[in-house]
């Protein structure tokens, strides 16, 4: 049998395999999800990396990087938030572009902050599934192990506010804390524990020029902080 005849004989089978793959629900869903990210998200979010390597690239960033979204976010939160987005960064990104001097202190200029678009339920699930496949920093996540546990609100607050000074830039309830970092009263629902631990350990490993410092937080304190943030996102009280 000549090569051409062999190809002709195998062709229907090959086409059937390709067709089956194309119609496979999982493959089709992922592909549609990535297409959704490309068309609806990629104009503001970086979905392919790398993170800004210079200050001016940092300033030019319009929205948080998503190329490690699968390492960072909890899927259930993504599906919900994408349908009902609420501002996470009180001063936007880049914060200094949304702040202006005021009579007592610099103030967030709300007029410069645009709301995040909302997706329908089906698209939110598609986007969340696609985002969960973006895992550029599996290496960093693999280094973390956060044991399950708990911490009292008062002890957590002491660690967060007094021992480490995190409240300078982050809010742990809607009306208390700094504004240049993302709010953290929903962090426990929003973020994976290993991501929180890794980011606290070395923000620069995720985002080399970010305005969050590496405070060389000990392993014990990192676990306490993660448990505290998880506690904050549970229940209605932010005390």
């Amino acid at each position: 049998m000549s090569p051409n005849h062999l190809l002709l004989r195998l062709l229907p089978g090959l086409l059937a395999v390709i067709l089956a793959l194309a119609l496979s629900p999982a493959w089709a869903g992922e592909s549609a999800g990535m297409a959704l990210l490309e068309s609806r998200c990629a104009s503001c979010h970086n979905i392919s990396g790398p993170a800004p390597a210079t200050i001016h690239a940092l300033w030019a960033r319009k929205a948080p990087d998503l190329f490690y979204a699968g390492n960072k976010f909890r899927r259930t939160w993504l599906v919900s938030w994408l349908q009902h987005p609420v501002r996470i960064r009180p001063a936007g990104e880049f914060y200094a572009d949304h702040v202006k001097p005021g009579p007592e202190r610099d103030m967030v200029d709300e007029s410069t902050l645009a709301p995040h678009m909302a997706l329908g339920a089906a698209d939110a699930k598609l986007a969340a599934d696609a985002l969960m496949t973006l895992r550029a920093h599996d290496d960093l996540i693999a280094k973390e192990h956060v044991p399950a546990g708990s911490i009292s609100r008062s002890m957590g607050s002491l660690v967060f506010d007094k021992f480490l000074g995190c409240m300078a830039c982050h809010r742990v309830k809607p009306d208390f804390g700094g504004l240049s970092g993302p709010e953290l009263y929903t962090a426990g629902a929003r973020l994976k524990p290993a991501f929180m631990a890794s980011y606290i350990r070395s923000p620069q490993s995720w985002d080399p020029k970010i305005w969050m410092p590496n405070k060389h937080v000990s392993d014990t304190r990192i676990v306490q902080l993660v448990h505290y943030l998880q506690a904050l996102s549970k229940g209605g009280s932010h005390e």
């Binding site: 610099d106 240049s180 410092p213 590496n214």
Partner: protein, 124 residues
């Protein structure tokens, strides 16, 4: 004179007139770093009135305050910048920037702080 020579001479003239063009000056770099890392607490104008300060138990230093800033040595300012407030017996709210800024950038930052306070170290 051909076209290439004209372009070369034109570029040479611009370089002579604007020697800083084409590279970032020391002050501009420190100024950019200040806007990125310091301004969130010390304020866009360096007056200690940043966007984060409302709920802080200890207020950030006013870098335009010459009477205070002249009492701190360059070494002290660099140490606070690199290791944070606790390293100089000040607040934990001032974080360490040693993993963010290089030693050269911290040195430049100290000089930039001196331009904000219009002062030098005076041990008297």
């Amino acid at each position: 004179m051909n076209k290439k020579s004209l372009i070369f001479l034109g570029g040479l003239a611009l370089w002579t007139l604007f020697p800083a063009a084409g590279h970032t000056s020391l002050a501009a770099t420190a100024k950019d770093n200040y806007r990125t890392y310091c301004a969130q607490c010390h304020g866009l104008q360096g007056n200690g009135r940043g966007v984060n300060i409302r709920d802080m138990s200890v207020q950030p230093r006013n870098h335009t305050d010459a009477s205070y800033m002249s009492q701190r040595s360059d070494e002290d300012l660099a140490k606070a910048d690199r290791k944070g407030g606790l390293a100089i017996d000040k607040s934990v709210l001032m974080p360490p920037w040693g993993d963010t800024l290089s030693p050269a950038e911290i040195k430049d930052m100290v000089q930039y702080l001196r331009t904000l306070c219009h002062c030098t170290f005076n041990s008297q």
